[in-house]
């Protein structure tokens, strides 16, 4: 039995990562290093107005006064911020006149990733903004959406074409002073998506952004801003992949969401950045600040995330519930295998009266990985009648991995009801053998059990994503049991 247990744990074989290829495309990469000149250069390349340059410079100067946070339950490698290139443009062709054309290689890459950029080939009902490295390659269905006044484009274009909207909301949910990586992102952010849903409009299709890191030695600094005006609705999806590389790559993003009165935003992520190899070499450092502001009364925001990739995930999609009666949800499945580390969770800040939040977190740890849930529920004195329900479950595969829960509660209104539940379970040998005896292989049995465990969260994803996420859970844990 003992020996069997050991082999169960030992056979943490290298898992498959299907998206590890690189694209051979002419990419303009600026010199490594970070300085005011670099910030000015990025801004100039994008042809930005002065107010945005000043925003970047302020953020940069503030960032210089900060130290990286160390409170995460993470063994973070030291990042040399001068050894990273902050801008890589794969769409730029040498000495070319006129508008940029998309290199067919880029189209092929996104096809290979299952993200066709030809509108006629696209998944029905999904518009895509495809971002590689620092630049948005293409946004589909823009004209069709425009008919209803919906703006869906890269944030760089939004700065040019809708400067007032961007200026009004950029940094209004995540100020550059928020934290170390937020300040860094605000200084050097490259591309991401901008979404504006006008009053009373229900966005007729899923909007999605697909992020791809390709160039070596570069960081990706996604910046996404979603504004959903009164009585409007949008469902937004985000997917991420990167090539397999021996060195760590940095993805430091900010996502800001503003939800007005009676509006609803659903934000779903399937994060599958390259997680590093079975020995823990390489992988993306995913250091992300995502936050939504439920400004209007009865506004609703739900975050759903399936996190299977990245060497390190440091991410807390959060909600500030200001509007009276606003409702926020956070559904998360975080899988770690081999030497991956995740410190992820959410913050629910209740400010308005009768605000409600729900947190459902499912951590799955295998191999030598460390998986932490970290969550804050804060109820301000003004949040009369606020309610929160949190449920944090951990599932362990093998005994060399770790699962941790760090729930923080800070309640300043005595009418608030805050509930927290947590469980830890393990896939037992008896369960696996029972499946084996019925003819189900161990790998398939783990897939069944894990998908069953994560079902409550997966069910919150839009259909196509749910299917993909289910497959991904199986693949991510491949080889995690003997």
């Amino acid at each position: 039995m003992m020996e069997e247990k050991n082999s169960f744990v030992r056979q943490v074989a290298e898992k498959k990562y299907e998206y590890g290829f690189t694209t051979d495309v002419q990419t303009e990469i600026i010199e490594k290093g970070l300085s005011e000149e670099v910030v000015r250069l990025i801004s100039a390349k994008k042809g930005e107005p002065d107010w945005l340059l000043q925003f970047r410079l302020n953020a940069f100067r503030y960032w210089q006064t900060l130290e990286p946070p160390t409170w995460g339950h993470l063994q973070m490698p030291e990042i040399d911020f001068q050894d990273i290139s902050y801008y890589a443009d794969p769409t730029r062709k040498k000495a070319e006149e006129g508008p940029k054309e998309i290199d067919p290689e880029l189209m092929k890459t996104f096809d290979k990733l299952g993200i066709p950029l030809e509108e006629r080939m696209a998944l029905s009902g999904t518009a895509v903004d495809a971002v590689m490295d620092s630049v948005s390659v293409k946004t589909t269905f823009r004209e069709k959406l425009q008919e209803q006044g919906i703006i869906f484009c890269s944030i760089s274009e939004a700065v040019r074409e809708h400067p007032d909207l961007v200026r009004q909301y950029l940094g209004s949910v995540v100020p550059y002073k928020d934290n170390f990586y937020a300040a860094l992102n605000s200084a050097v952010f490259s591309d991401g998506s901008f979404v504006y849903i006008p009053r009373g409009v229900r966005c007729p299709m899923e909007l999605s952004t697909y992020f791809r890191i390709n160039a070596r030695g570069t960081g990706q600094f996604e910046r996404t801003l979603i504004v959903c005006d009164d009585n409007a609705y949008v469902s937004y999806l985000e997917g991420c992949t990167a090539p397999m590389r021996d060195e760590n790559q940095l993805h430091a993003a900010i996502v800001e969401i503003v939800v007005m009165e009676n509006a609803e935003v659903k934000y779903s992520t399937v994060q599958n950045w390259y997680p590093g190899d079975a020995q823990g070499k390489g992988g993306v450092l995913n250091l992300v600040t995502k936050r939504g502001h439920l400004r209007g009364a009865n506004s609703r925001l739900s975050w759903t995330q399936v996190e299977t990739g990245s060497a390190i995930t440091w991410k807390y999609p959060s909600c500030v519930l200001s509007g009276e009666g606003s409702q926020a949800e956070f559904y998360s499945v975080a899988v770690t295998n081999n030497f991956q580390q995740a410190d992820t969770g959410t913050k629910m800040i209740h400010i308005g009266r009768n605000t409600r939040s729900t947190i459902i977190s499912k951590g799955i740890s295998a191999g030598h990985s460390q998986n932490s849930y970290r969550g804050l529920v804060r109820v301000a004195s003004t949040a009369e009648g606020a309610r929160n329900y949190s449920s944090c479950d951990s599932l362990l595969l093998g005994s060399s991995c770790g699962a941790h829960t760090f729930p923080y509660m800070d309640v300043h209104n005595e009418t608030a009801v805050v509930e927290h539940e947590a469980t830890t379970s393990k896939i037992s040998e008896d369960q696996l053998f029972y499946c084996n005896q019925r003819g189900i292989s161990t790998e398939d049995a783990v897939g069944l059990i894990v998908n069953g465990y994560a079902r409550d969260v997966i069910n919150k994803l839009p259909m196509e994503f749910a299917v993909e996420a289910q497959k991904l859970l199986g693949v991510s844990l491949e080889g995690s049991v003997g």
Binding site: M1, C435, N436, R438, D444, L448, Y453
Partner: protein
């Protein structure tokens, strides 16, 4: 069908089975009786390939194939089914998904396409009736929150779905009241054909009243010490095991 020759089995270095030989032919039901600790469950676990047991000597063949060289899934695909003494709960995995995975794994092994969803659900409905398992149970997670009797009925239901040629019933009667025992046993009998065989492990005659074994074996101290017809089970019911022990010179 099943041929066990001079089987020696250890667990954690301790020898439990000390030279067991047993032959089950097509269509036969064999009962395996004996007191706790005699090695009955060890034998059934070894046949299905439980990884905790080490075979130190001997052989098991199934329809002429070497069973000991196969992993548990392959043994299942070849047609061996174990009704567990204590079926484990698998929270979050619905019976439907579980059975579908099992069924399609077997079909893949046989070179068949996965069964269409509608056809599969229809089959589930039919087979459920055999053990009077209600719809709600079939939609719940595997064994989760099932009573003892429901778990055993669920085992026979799975047997009905997978249509094994050799079924091993490991104390399927334990913890069952009279009615549940009847449902389980009658369900089992409905599934019998001239090509299917069974090895029934039990302490009691009452299950055998229904199942009517062709051969009864008594296992004592890791060895089969007596093999006879169905009358042996009745004698054990009356007189216990001591006389067999004495007869065997133990």
């Amino acid at each position: 069908m099943l041929e066990i020759r001079d089987l020696h089995v250890s667990i954690a270095g301790k020898e439990i089975l000390k030279g067991v030989s047993l032959t089950v032919r097509d269509g036969e039901v064999h009962a395996l009786m004996g007191q706790n600790g005699a090695g009955k469950s060890t034998l059934s676990n070894v046949i299905v390939g439980h990884p905790s047991y080490e075979v130190t000597q001997g052989s098991i063949t199934f329809n002429g194939k070497d069973l000991l060289g196969m992993n548990p899934e392959e043994r299942a695909h070849e047609g061996i089914f174990l009704s567990f003494q204590q079926p484990v709960e698998i929270p979050g995995v619905s019976m439907v998904n579980f059975m579908r995975a099992a069924m399609n794994a077997k079909r893949k092994y046989q070179g068949l396409e996965p069964m269409a969803a509608a056809e599969f659900l229809k089959l589930m409905r039919e087979k459920r009736k055999i053990v009077e398992l209600d719809n709600k149970l079939a939609n719940r997670s595997v064994n989760e929150g099932f009573s003892g009797g429901e778990k055993k009925r669920n085992e026979i239901f799975q047997m009905a779905m997978l249509e094994p040629t050799l079924s091993i019933l490991d104390e399927t009667d334990s913890g069952l009241d009279v009615d549940a025992l009847r449902i389980v046993a009658e369900g089992f009998n409905k599934l019998r054909t001239p090509q299917t065989s069974a090895l029934v492990i039990t302490h009691y005659q009452r299950l055998l009243d229904y199942l009517k074994p062709d051969v009864v074996h008594v296992l004592i101290g890791g060895q089969i010490v007596k093999t006879a017809g169905p009358e042996l089970a009745l004698q054990i019911e009356e007189r216990g095991f001591d006389w067999i022990r004495e007869e065997a010179g133990l």
